[in-house]
């Protein structure tokens, strides 16, 4: 405890005292992130204001061998920013400036604590577009998005966060500051190290600035909703749309259980006996959008949709999209504990996987609603449970293991967009196999030999 005392004194001296929190009432709210049932109180929480202060903090932590857990807004869903015992939480929300928007190179440079939505809003002011739209984009920070390689609803057409990161400033475990990448579209000078840090979950370095690629903002968008009597028919529709050389920006689905919950919560007039609801959107040039929308409706009809609605304007589009937008809220209200999973399979296996999840839920007497991104095979089986019901939590664990096992058997991944963190690390070796799992460790040991950054996350 004495060593902690001297450490706390030095860190308070290097930052302003009001930017170091040590009281119980201040620390308890930093014991968790957006992940269910994971909690650990840190030693302290610090708020640096720039890269130099982050570097100073990391140097001090390295000197005192105090682990560092980096945090943005704490919305992660795999426990990536949950503290470890006696750690410093490096909270980067005050590095919140957009530094440059370069309209000639279509890039944006921002500090890591800028809110994701503010990045897209800033781009929109210049007719530009930052496509990744994770569900928490109204509050998640861009640094957190890069560290977790966040996805979103537009994965199929626009990809994920990784596809928009051109460069970054990163503080290494010894406190050195490295600049990776640049504004050049083509750059093959050495290893693409920025890619190593994207999705590294705070275990290799602390990203303090990012350089992002922007796109021209699509001018038009059209929204459609189709209802099906079987998930297979919805999946066939998706395959047929892609086979027709249309790449929609949104292809989202809800299963029967989720549709039922949405209807009882939001009362938007959905029939509750449908097996699948498919929300489709296409964006781009107005003429192309009209043409594609008409084709998509026709394809949905040919593939057995029992009802199809096409929005005539933005307002109606928003109404149709509300079914998908309300999905998580509607499920979250049913039981005290909501566990949001994100297993992902190749698109062609999606219907099989949804069916398997429903059967697994029935077998273990659990409530699992599944919704997600049909275009990219990313599913969100959502467990509705109660963490205080220990007997049920055992069944949740069992069901999760079976779902993960089946996902891997189908050639899928244990996490499409939430990250491994603490929540998925017991499954990682199973998916990667020994050789590639050990390779991860080799990388970690090479960059952070004393395991000071986010120890115990991704793997032990």
């Amino acid at each position: 405890m004495n060593s902690h005392g001297s450490f706390l004194q030095s860190i308070a001296a290097s930052l302003a005292p009001e930017r170091v929190l040590t009281q119980k009432e201040d620390l308890i709210p930093y014991s968790f992130d957006g992940t269910a049932a994971l909690k650990q109180r840190p030693l302290c929480v610090v708020f640096p204001l720039d890269t130099a202060e982050v570097s100073a903090c990391v140097k001090l932590c390295a000197e005192h061998r105090v682990p560092v857990v980096t945090r943005g807004s704490g919305t992660g869903l795999s426990g990536g920013s949950v503290p470890v015992a006696d750690c410093v939480v490096l909270c980067l929300v005050k590095l919140d400036k957009i530094l440059e928007l370069d309209t000639r190179n279509l890039t944006l440079r921002a500090q890591c604590g800028v809110i994701t939505k503010e990045i897209d809003d800033a781009a929109a002011q210049h007719g530009l577009f930052y496509p990744p739209d994770p569900g928490s984009m109204k509050i998640s920070t861009i640094g957190g998005n890069v560290a977790e390689n966040s996805g979103g609803l537009r994965g199929l057409k626009y990809g994920v966060t990784r596809d928009y990161v051109m460069g970054m400033t990163v503080v290494l475990p010894d406190g050195c500051v490295a600049t990776l990448g640049n504004k050049c579209v083509k750059d093959v000078a050495g290893y693409s190290l920025k890619d190593l840090f994207i999705g590294s979950e705070g275990t290799l370095g602390i990203i303090t600035e990012v350089l992002l690629k922007l796109l021209p903002r699509p001018v038009a968008r059209r929204t459609m909703l189709a209802l099906y009597d079987s998930m297979e028919a919805a999946a066939r529709t998706v395959s047929a749309i892609i086979a027709a050389r249309i790449i929609p920006c949104t292809l989202e689905f809800l299963d029967r259980m989720t549709v039922g919950c949405v209807e009882s919560y939001a009362k938007i007039g959905l029939p509750t006996d449908v097996e699948a609801l498919l929300l489709m959107e296409t964006d781009g040039h107005p003429a192309a959008v009209d043409d594609e929308a008409a084709q998509m409706v026709e394809i949905a009809r040919q593939n057995g949709a029992r009802e199809i609605k096409m929005a005539s304007d933005e307002a109606e589009g928003a109404r149709l999209a509300s079914a998908r937008r309300n999905a998580f809220s509607a499920l979250a209200r049913v039981k005290p504990t909501t566990i949001l999973e994100d297993v992902t399979v190749p698109r062609s296996e999606l219907a099989t996987m949804v069916k398997f999840i429903a059967e697994t839920a029935a077998r273990h007497r659990l409530q699992i609603g599944t919704f997600g991104h049909m275009g990219d095979g990313n599913l969100h089986p959502t467990f509705l449970t109660n963490e205080r019901d220990h007997e049920e939590m055992v069944r949740v664990e069992l069901a999760l293991e079976e779902i993960v096992g089946h996902t891997i058997a189908l050639g899928g991944t244990i996490t499409g967009e939430h990250g491994v963190g603490l929540a998925k690390k017991m499954f990682l070796r199973q998916q990667l196999g020994d050789a590639s799992f050990e390779l991860l460790r080799l990388v970690k040991n090479a960059i952070d030999p004393t395991a000071i950054l986010n120890p115990g996350k991704i793997f032990d």
């Binding site: 929190l21 009281q23 119980k24 009432e25 201040d26 308890i28 709210p29 930093y30 014991s31 968790f32 992130d33 957006g34 269910a36 708020f47 807004s73 704490g74 919305t75 929300v93 005050k94 809110i115 928490s136 109204k138 509050i139 998640s140 998580f328 809220s329 979250a332 209200r333 005290p336 504990t337 909501t338 109660n386 963490e387 205080r388």
Partner: protein, 434 residues
Amino acid sequence: MDYSILQQCMHCGMCLPTCPTYVETKHERNSPRGRIALMRAIADGEMNVSRSFGDEMYYCLGCLACVTACPAGVNYVELFEAARADVEQSKVLENPQRSFWRWLTLEIFFMKPRLLRAAGVLLRCYQQCGLEWLARTLRLIWLLPGNLRKLEPQTPRMSDKFSNALIDEVEWPRGEVKHRVALLTGCVQDLAFSDINRDTADVLLANGCEVVTPRVQFCCGSLHAHNGAPHLAAELARKQIDMIDPESVDAIITNAGGCGSHLKHYSNLLGGDPAYSERARLWDSKVKDIHEWLVTTGFRKPAAGCGMSEVTYHESCHLCHGQKITRQPRAILNAIPGLRVIELNESNWCCGSAGIYNITQPEESARLLTRKLDNVERTHAPAVATSNPGCHLQLAFGLRNRIQSMCRTVTQPVSMLAAAYRGEPTNEGQHDSR
């Protein structure tokens, strides 16, 4: 503290960007998610109700923006009220001055409506006979203790006549009676904005309502419920129900956002009282915000303008977040001929009035007021409408000190509608007071 409500929070963080105190400090403890974590830590025995916890609960505005943002439907109102009651019970914030003011307001003035009105009459005399002018001119105000001196400019101006003098006990519309409604005149509304109560009655009469306005009305108890005195809130809820039998009217109308949000949940306070629980449920179902009532019953579109060409609209937190009434006040403004409604950026962001927050947390309140007025100014509207006496006073106070602002008028949608009805060519008075 109801553990099942605490547990409903899945700490996703969606409340953070809507919480004015979190946005100010970026500290988790100043956010709804952080506050709930502290409440849960107390429930789990990890910490006690401490002074620091008490300070945090009173730093919360209680604006309920988090309730609108919450995907999991956490009932933050109940948590926040229970937490403040715990803070009071454990006396962690107690000091003689605070106890005196709590006693004077919660237990005396806002429990005894006749006394409150008498105080209002005294204040009116002081303001109207020139004493206030004299005190301000001679800087006698400087004799007041520091806190009071700072608050003095915010003293609401008392109405020339209170609601009783402006509204008869029963008023009938011209023509067919379509509905029978009771009108709640409020406390601050009655003293400072009795004309808005008159306007409310006029608008109801113009829409075929027989309006019953009880003479002596008690405080609705929201002040008590939000300030850790649930027993007094329950007592006031009983008095309200005794005053207006919910069976006897089609609706109980309130025109103050803050009161309405509380008035609709008497069954929470009286659920365990067999003598009242049934009537409390009926009461809750009968309480309607004036805008909500007008829009559901299909109010008559006025044939004349209200004498104003542009207005912007600031939403009372407890109207939009507490009662989810957002569309209706705008529908009323949009129905007034010749009136352009300019949307206010961050219209549902708290103005810093927040009950008595401007008294308890003057600095944070002032920051929120500045943020609000900056947004109002950007609309270039000459007037701002709102629908809660607290917001009304706060905006008017702020605008008085911003002489450069284009916006010179604070009004309410119901007053603008009343003015439009009054301007109609065939209007020869809307009611009989038989």
